[in-house]
């Protein structure tokens, strides 16, 4: 059975330069919409593999993927490790708390050490914007940016967009809002309105998602209080709003960002209570905003959630919620990227 399904797998061209000329994935900025669709196609195949009883491929046997995480992360790191292992690669992990990073070794030296251990690909998460680009310039190994400061988190954006891509595709097949016409993949996002609400200023997820969704043709609105959504965020080409209820009207999807509770101590908002009242996602809010059309937007959250703060528990667990789907798609997207970056040769 596994053998039969691997036909699909062979559908992916091997041996060619699969992600443009890139050895790295540093940000959405570098990707064209064609690149993104190519990643989605690959991810769809990967997702099928994840549904199999035996989730293991020999494709990347003999390849090594190093994890270099300078910020606490469980889900992203495990997602990458699962993706690499499913493809047959070996995984090495540098957890900052147990490595020589604590002895004052520089980022560059640590990364060079990983490279000297002959890892083909290094997945890096770092609190400084540009850490991934910095390593990419200095190393021959491929780099995947798993989140750099407040700059980009491209794999999160790709998995979010892939989740919407699947849903919008299903809606199309079901004739929902698309008059039964099967639209080509490339226009699935055209005219879609997607709202991202929360601490936009400090969010790499918001930046990468805005770039990704707009590149696919969607309209993106950022929503948050002025302290977390200053006017310069218009640089991303999005609509800015401080009013969630108005912005939710006609939205096809809404993404709530995790609120870092320590921002309140820095005075960026007066209290969690006031924040939730203004910007918390609830079922009632979604229903009211869309009472005219009766269609409720899809709900995404990059996790981990503060239930009852940026998202209401009932909503998080509802049918509209894509949150668990996002996690599964995260593994598929990361498999696709690892494959496209180092599976070629």
């Amino acid at each position: 059975m596994a053998r039969k399904k691997s036909c699909c797998w062979k559908g992916i061209k091997k041996g060619t330069d699969m992600l443009g000329n890139h050895k790295d994935l540093l940000g959405i900025e570098q990707l064209t919409s064609q690149d993104i669709h190519h990643i989605f196609k690959t991810a769809a195949t990967m997702k099928e593999i994840l549904e199999r009883p035996i989730k293991k491929l020999p494709t990347l046997r003999g390849k090594g993927v190093g994890m270099l995480f300078y910020e606490a992360s469980t889900r992203t790191r495990v997602s990458f490790e699962t993706a690499a292992k499913t493809l047959g690669a070996d995984v090495g992990s540098f957890a900052v708390t147990t490595s020589s990073v604590n002895k004052g070794e520089s980022l560059l030296d640590t990364a060079k050490t990983l490279q000297a251990m002959k890892f083909d690909l290094i997945v890096v998460r770092h609190a400084s914007s540009g850490a991934g680009e910095f390593l990419a310039r200095n190393l021959n190994a491929g780099i995947i940016n798993a989140g750099d400061g407040q700059h980009e988190h491209p794999t999160q954006a790709l998995l979010d967009a892939f989740t919407l891509y699947e849903k919008f595709g299903q809606q199309g097949e079901a004739g929902h809002g698309r008059e039964g016409r099967t639209s080509p993949d490339s226009s699935l996002f055209a005219g879609r309105k997607i709202v991202i609400v929360g601490d936009i200023l400090h969010s790499r997820v918001a930046r990468s998602n805005a770039l990704c969704l707009q590149r696919l043709g969607a309209d993106v609105t950022f929503v948050g209080p002025p302290t977390l959504l200053p006017p310069e965020m218009a640089c991303c080409g999005v609509t800015l709003s401080h009013d969630l209820d108005i912005s939710l009207r006609g939205a096809d999807a809404v993404m709530a960002l995790r609120l870092q509770l320590e921002r309140q101590q820095s005075g960026l908002f007066p209290s969690v209570r006031e924040y939730t009242a203004l910007y918390g996602l609830t079922s009632a809010r979604l229903a009211q905003a869309n009472c005219a059309t009766g269609q409720t937007p899809l709900v995404l959250h990059p996790g981990p959630m503060n239930r009852g703060v940026e998202i209401d528990s009932v909503l998080a667990d509802s049918l509209q919620s894509m949150i668990e789907e996002q996690v599964t798609n995260g593994v598929a997207i990361r498999m696709a990227l690892i494959y496209l970056l180092i599976g070629g040769n």
Partner: protein, 449 residues
Amino acid sequence: MWLIKNVHVVDPAQDLDAICDVEFDERIRNIIKHNANTQNTLPVDADSPDEHTVSGRKTSEAAPSGNTVQVIDGRGKYLFPGFVDVHAHLREPGREDKEDLASGAQAAARGGFTTVLCMANTQPVIDNRGLVEFVINQGSQAEGARVWPVAAVTKGLKGEELVNMVELHNAGAVAFSDDGRGIQRGQTMLLALQYAQLTGRPIISHCEEDSLAANGSMRRGPQSARLGLTGIPAAAESVMAARDILLAEETAGRLHLAHMSASATVTLLGWAKKQGIDVTGEVNPHHLIFCDEDIGLTDTALKVNPPLPSAADREILIEALANGTIDMLATDHAPHTWEEKAQPFAEAPFGINAFETALSAVWMSLVEPGKLSVSRLVRAWSLNPARRFSLAGGSLSPGTPADVVLFDPSHTRVIGEGTWMSKSTNTPYWGKPMHGFAIATWVGGIKHC
């Protein structure tokens, strides 16, 4: 004895902008201006000894004789009074791995500077007489530009207790500054502006309000938002400039604004001058040449404090320098090691190594395109700083010490190891060709580089 012939002298102090022959030993001895007639016939004169050479010798009889005269043909070149840089970090004592007083003074001389002021934010801080004397002693042995210390305003740069200003001034400090950080308490600044009047020396204000600048690494704006780097609002500088200007008015103190980088600061300085407040301002070449849009995530060579301005603010700074609202240029020469700059942007230290590229950069980016006249360049980088800080130099008037720069506008160099004197290489120009350099610098008549 040196004789520079047929050279274009620009010396605003004497209102001189003409082809001249200049003769000097340790002091300027003679400047013979070619009359319009001779100037017109220069190409013919080039072939044979001519009358103005003769007249030069004749007048030189007044000067001490017995030395051989070394003659340099200055055709196509400029002779300027040596440049005076009022803002540099020479890192000694404490961080001699980045720079020391000797390498800094030599790099300065190579760049065309004959006098530099070094800031007090060393380790330990230059806040006592011993260290002021140490800087002067090391500087005098450096075989480069003259080095004068700027002493701290407050002990340990802590922004609390004033240093012994009179004692440090008597030891040789030429100004006071906590440069590297802003003095946060208004009362401390007020007392400093009052007490420094005993010395007649200015307080140099590093205008930065800490809570506004907190943890930022570039100017706040669309580019910082795009890159995900924490922004420093322009107001972090301007609110402090406003405070210090009002305190200077309140105390009738002497104030100098370091490294101005925001248009509002320019407006405030213009206003202060109209009020008759005793305040001057400086701008760094990088704030006139680069802007926030030039910054990429790995360009730590462009990470500087105050941060690079918006493109619009940059134009206002250029205009203010050209029209004299901003009094002077200063490099804010800030050497850092390669290792420190080879980090992600937010973690790399602030600063640009500038002595050996600053003059060429300003020449190429501002003088050649006609944004800054040659005489304004000399006024802003030699005459005005010398006057404001009561330093020797700033003019080629006969009898003054021969701090002289021979500048070749077409001399080209690729910035790199071959000619580099500084101990550090943190410049955005590394590996790039530049033109317009000091090809000889004399400090008190002694030729360097």
